[in-house]
Each structure stands twice: as structure tokens, then as C-alpha cells.
Amino acid sequence: MTMLTERELKKKSVQYRKDILRIIKGSGSGHTGGDLSSIDILNVLYNRVLRVTPESFENSDRDYYIQSKGHCAEALFVVLADRGFFPKEELNTLNKFGSHFIGHPTRKVNGVEQNTGALGHGLAFAVGVALAAKQDRKDYRAFTLLGDGELAEGSNWEAGMTAAHYRLDNLIAIVDRNGLQITGSTEDVCQLEPLGEKFESFGFAVRECDGNDIGELVHTFGAVPFVPGKPSLVLAKTRKGKGISFMDNVAKWHHGVPNDDEYSRAMAELDEAEKELAA
């Protein structure tokens, strides 16, 4: 993989944000807020961390990425298209009748490892993948992206116990800690904090980082496994709707679709961000 510089990665993030808004606007639906909070994580994973390409996707030694928070499918699709898993134009069919680009990832889309959408499924699946690697003495890794609201699903904690029990240091779970879910603040809906301590007590090695900061993400993922013999948990502090001023940290953008005016304003902001990076 050609190593992109941090500046190039930042440019990618802006481009991805534009792509996300464009396809959501085109299809009339999508999980805008979470797509924007998680896109920098996906960017760094696919362009810097994961040992997987369209050519190696069928190899048994590839790294696996499982998107547990399946509703942020648009972010994943945009990154997969950019990485060459399928032609970018196909994304124009998002949510159209008969398209396999639906509101959640499915294996019909090249590059998607597992059908997700119901919450609380990705971590257990990733534990299975990581366990198989350990059994076969292979060095591939399993990465999974969890939503924070999703953590109320008990199945996550079942899987977390298993991950620590089997000392799966080839498992890297990332929490997109944007603090908001469809009803409002995660802390108002069902308190998660102290979240890092919870994962630590379950046997994870936990590191916090700014999940919208490319440099911090590169640095954090560069350090996995954080502790040999322990699964890693990246507590990625993000902002829902990140990158667009009027969507930033606003719960209603969970699955809000911009109207024409909002779309133009959002794109103008991203054009501005692009210019700044070019300067």
C-alpha cells in the first residue's frame, strides 16, 4: 500500500465527507451524523492500518474489518469505493430499488466482511475471526467499529469477556464515542461512563484518542496491540456530524438528510476545508 501522508489523509477525509453527503442527498436517506463522526477512523484504517486490498480480500491472511455499527454504511461504502473495491459510480444507486448498496453493509458489496445492521453483533463475530487466527497461528487481525449507543446491547459484554479470556491481542475494537444516539445523549439514555474503565475491567487494554484527528488516529493504531495478551479498545472521542458546522454534535442529524440549502452550505464548508489543506 502506498503510504499516504497525514496531509493526504486529511484531504481524503474532506473528499469522503463530500461523497457521503452527495450519496445521502441523492438517495434521500442515510445516517449522516454517525457517518461523519466515524469517517476519519475508516479513513485511517483503510488507508494506513488494514492489510486488505481488493486483490487480497479473498486471502485467508487478510485483516478483517467488521462494521458493528452497520447503520453508518455510507461511510464504509465511500471508503471501499475509493480503495477500488468497486466503481465509485455504483454508489449512485444507494437505497434505490434492487441496489445492493442498502442502508446497512451486506456481503453483496465487495469488501464487506459480514452483514450487519442489528446492533451488538460485530464484536462476537470479530472474536470468532481473531480466535481462528490464534488457532491457526496466523498474524491477521480483526478490527470492529462499535457505536457508543450500541454498547447497551449486552451481547457486546459477552463477547468482550470472551476476547479477554482467550487473550485476543489480535482483536481491535474501536468505539465511535460521539456521545449521541437517536434519542439524545448516551448519558441521558443509558449511562455508559466510566466507559474506559468498564472495558479495562473486562480485560481490554484501552487507549483514548481524538477520533476525528488523523494524526492521533495514526499514532494510536500504530501502537496496537497496546498490551500483549490483551484485546485492544480504542476509545475514539468523536463528534457526530463532524466537519459541517450546523450538524456538529446535533442529535437530529443522526439520520437527517440535508435539504438543498443545507446541502449547498455543507458543500461550501467542505470546499473551504479543501482549500485550506491545499494552501
Binding site: S60, R107, A142
Partner: protein
Amino acid sequence: MEKPKANLEVFASTLLELAHQDPNLLVVTSDSRGSGKLAPFGKAVPGQIVEVGIAEQNLVGVAAGLAAAGKTVFAVSPACFVTARSLEQIKNDICYSDRPVKVVGISAGVSYGALGSTHHSLHDFAALRAIHNVTIVAPADSFETREAVLAAAKIDEPVYLRFGKKAMPHLSRPAEEFELGKASLIRQGSALTFIASGETVAPASDAAELLAKEGVECRVLSMHTIKPLDEAAVLSAASETGGVITVEEHSVHGGLGEACAALLLQAGKCVPFKIVGFPDEYTVTGGQVEIFKHYGIDGPGLANMARSVLPKR
């Protein structure tokens, strides 16, 4: 004659045989190795058993991940839990995602008779029949159990296997043949047909024996594969014999009986027809045999049902 064995025991010994041949085969358990008769398996091939604790959702999710990474996986847990608590994982992680996990529901039906309805699985056929991409199998005896396990391991598709824990008699049959999706003929006859599954095939066979003494020869089919249903065998039974009685260790709602009824009605075959299973209630409790008897799922009960269906002579 070989000592009767529980289907569960035959499952465990067959699986050990397979594990010796294939180091890639794994069993995943949820504190269920004892109930699954898998303790010897764990001792013989400790590297091929994965324990996840009492966490059935996790059991199925982990099994799906292992299968995705190339393992042949049998996920073993009591049928009552694995087909209810982990139904979403079966649907999404296995069936929808097309992961060829073999989900094994042990001590199925009312095997845990006296433990009550929390431990009964009389809903599993119904729940799983409505989910696409899973073969549902309830073998009748040692022969079918062994064949079903071998067949399930061979196919690259999701399978649900359901086993009881009571020792089952070896059922003699005209030909020892087994194919998933194809009913197994236990006894030939034309007065009527018992279409039974799992541990109810033996009592259906007993009923046929009793009726034969009265000169009434009934056909007995072991419909070990509930889905996909052997439609040809059901249609032939309706055409060639005087009626059909389905028998299952399952609620009368959504199981083998309703599958046969829907098929026959839509094929325009209106023949004398009865569904024998568990009524819509929390069952009486006691031993499995006693519960079967209470609901008429024994030789005399099923023979009586047959007499009520047959034309008066």
C-alpha cells in the same frame, strides 16, 4: 441388538470421529459440554473445543466469525436457549450472512420434561422455518443421527440439528439410506401415513405395529428434514394412502404439521389429515415419556388417532 443410545450420544461420538479426521473442525459450547455429551470430545481433542460460557448470543456470533475464517463449526447449546435467545444471531450472523455454521440444539423438545417450559423447545421449527437459508433436521434414531451429522459437516451451508437425550431404539427400515431433504421410509403401507420427525418417529412406528395387528397397514415416514420439506413424499402419501397424520415434538403451530397442511391444501389434495403435536399451552411436566403419553404421542394414542381418521369398517 445394539444397546439403544440417545441421539445426543451418537452426535457426540460422530463428531469426535469427524474431529479426528479434520483438525479444522471446532465445537463451540456455552457451558454445555456436559449436557451435550461432549466431555469425552473435550478430553480427546482439547484444541478443538471452544468454551464461551453461559452466553448463547455470543456462542452463535463467535461461531459465525470462526466459520468466516474457514473453520467447520458446530455451535452446541440446549435447543430452548440457542433458538430463542440467539435467534437474531442465527438469522443475521449465520443465515443472512451465509456462514455455514451447524447450530446444534441439544435436549430438544421436552427432553428436559420436568424442568418446565423455560427448558422446552417447542417453538424452534416454527422460528427457524420462517428464516431463509437454514436446513432444519431432527433425526429419529442412531442411524439418522450419525448420517445427519456427517451430511451437515459436508455441506457448506447453515444447518440446524436437533437432538433429544433419551435413548432411542434403532428403527429397522426397508433400506438404510439417508439424504438431507428426503424422507426416510420406515414402514410401507397404504391405509394411511404417519409423517413423523425426531423422537416421535418411534411412537409412530409403535402405532403402526399395533394397527398392523388389526390388519391395518400404515406407512411411516421419518421426515428428519423439516426444511426443505420432501414435498414429493408428502404428496405421494396423500395420493397413495388413506390419509395423513403428522407427528412432532413441537407446538402444533408452525412446525411439520402446518408445513404439510399448507403443501397439501395448495396442491388441491384434501385428504383426511391430523396434526399431532403440542397444543398451544405451557405443557404438563414430568418425564418426556409421560408428557408424550399425555398428549397422545405414544403407540396407543397415535393408533387411536389413526382409527378416528380411517373410514369406519
